[in-house]
């Protein structure tokens, strides 16, 4: 698969299974298609599925970028854990704060 890289002395052993240029371009293509799908939801009504669809597309894009472009798929798990800690921490904490704010009656006027 990786043909262009083998000759180079500086190629890192740990990195040899990283994607090739071609794969990078393919991933970018996938990202473009996903973005186009996201964009299309602006014109099409999916009913109650609308938000879940958008969030799913977003999650896939997120996964592709961090997994391949940021090499999390190939790097040490520690990096993934650091990112997931931040991500899950933010989702949980702000989620709870959001729920707590939502629990009390809203402001009077506004």
């Amino acid at each position: 698969m990786s043909d262009a890289t083998t000759a180079d002395a500086t190629t890192q052993a740990a990195h040899h299974d990283e994607p090739t240029v071609r794969q990078y371009v393919e991933i970018a293509g996938a990202l473009s298609v996903l973005t186009l799908m996201e964009f299309s939801t602006y014109f099409v009504e999916f009913g109650w599925l609308h938000i879940p669809i958008l969030l799913t597309l977003m999650a896939i894009k997120f996964g592709l970028i961090v997994g391949f472009f940021m090499h999390l798929k190939y790097d040490t798990r520690l990096y993934t854990r650091l990112m997931v800690t931040g991500l899950v921490g933010a989702l949980t904490l702000y989620g709870i704060a959001f729920l707590a704010i939502a629990e009390v009656p809203t402001l009077m006027g506004s």
Binding site: T106, M108, G109
Partner: protein, 399 residues
């Protein structure tokens, strides 16, 4: 911005008072603080008692744990202290799983025991009690306003409630008549209930009920800026019939106000003196109209029919000023005390006119305020002395 001496000599503790205070405080210590002007240890109604019972139960547990742990520490350091000639190494113990489980599980069980009634109470206290009387509480910088939707009464600083009746407070903060201006306050009468913060633009609620009549103290408990310390409140608990009488009195316009209500607009324009009204008092009315109404509202505003008629205001309603015992955010006594040295002794019938006068003349010198920003009362130093005296005379009719 220093307070002028006119306040401090009255309130500053004299040596005798300090000694007396020390004596009282020692007594309070002996009684574990079971009495006191603002204590949270002496609840006077179910909404304060339930948390208090829980607290005291937890304090017993905490005391046991405290004695155990501190005893253990003292025993350990005494028993295992190193003698000077002792070079022998102790046995190198790294841990003991069984012990660790014990002191993980036992505290967890104790806490679980506390958790159950706590959660039950949280939900119970949040419910609006049945048959509750609703009172609106409005936090201003820096005084409390109370509005009684059922009777149309508006008053300030002293929350008057009937005994044995559940009270449901609907609270918010306001400023200069605007419901979404203002800052956070916290309404608190420890004897009757815990505190609840008050917000601009949002309504929070608090339930309370008094089992005994009496006068209970509180003060704003959420930092609200410059004069936060000078925002005090009292709860005056009356027998039901006394309360009904109080409401009736509050609803009735004062005699002077009634007399002025008889005048035609032309007569008012001409600043005429109504029949049966002292001339100086009448003069005071007109001075009040041109200087005070903008913030304190019309004197007759109090007797209104429904909550919709409430006019937002910057200063407290003064129609029945003399029915209150304190003023200016309840930091000053309107009436002299029976014992001038005891700030908690009963009130006499004699109004402290001198203090009231100096307040009207230059309020910002007695209480830190920001009248320039529309928060607090202006100084009326420029008002001629005779007009000032007239206003005071007028105010002294507002029984």
């Amino acid at each position: 911005m220093r307070r002028t001496p006119s306040r401090s000599p009255r309130r500053a503790p004299r040596p005798g008072r300090v000694l007396r205070g020390v004596g009282l405080a020692l007594l309070a210590l002996v009684l574990a603080g079971c009495s006191g002007a603002q204590t949270m240890l002496d609840p006077q109604g179910p909404f304060a008692e339930a948390p208090d019972d829980l607290f005291k139960a937890v304090m017993v547990v905490a005391a046991v744990v405290f004695v155990f742990v501190q005893g253990l520490i003292i025993y350990t350091v005494v028993r295992y202290r190193r003698r000077s000639d002792d070079d022998e190494l102790p046995k190198q113990v790294h841990g003991n799983t069984r012990l660790e489980i014990v002191w993980t599980v036992i505290p967890a069980l104790i806490l679980a025991g506390i958790a159950v009634p706590t959660v039950q109470q949280v939900f119970a206290l949040a419910e609006e009690p049945e048959g509750a009387m609703t009172i609106e509480v409005i936090g201003h910088r820096w005084w409390w306003e109370y509005r009684y939707p059922d009777s149309g009464v508006i008053t300030a600083n002293e929350l008057v409630i009937p005994v044995d009746t559940p009270i449901h407070l609907e609270m918010r903060a306001e400023e200069a008549g605007s419901a979404d201006r203002g800052v956070l306050h916290s309404f608190w009468v420890p004897a009757l209930a815990g505190k609840q913060d008050v917000f601009p633009g949002r309504i929070t609620t608090l339930n309370m009920q008094a089992d005994t009549t009496g006068r209970f103290l509180g003060q704003c408990a959420e930092y609200c800026g410059l004069s936060h310390a000078n925002m005090r409140n009292r709860a005056e608990v009356l027998e039901q019939d006394e309360f009904d009488q109080w409401v009736a009195e509050q609803q009735a316009p004062s005699d002077v106000a009634a007399a002025f209500a008889e005048l035609t607009p032309e007569q008012l324009e001409a600043q005429e003196v109504p029949e049966g009204v002292d001339e100086q008092v009448a003069r005071g009315h007109y001075v009040f109209q041109s200087n005070c109404v903008a913030c304190h509202g019309q004197i007759s505003d109090t007797a209104v029919a429904s909550a919709d008629d409430f006019v937002p205001r910057t200063g407290p309603n003064l129609t029945h000023l003399l029915s209150r015992e304190e003023f200016a955010g309840a930091i000053f006594d309107l009436y002299f005390r029976e014992d001038p040295d005891d700030p908690n002794s009963a009130f006499t019938d004699e109004v402290d006119v001198e203090l009231l006068t100096s307040w009207v003349r230059n309020a910002p010198s007695l209480k830190a305020m920001r009248p320039g920003d529309g928060i607090g009362m202006n100084s009326f130093e420029s008002l001629p002395q005779d007009e000032l005296d007239a206003v005071i005379a007028y105010l002294l009719t507002m029984e």
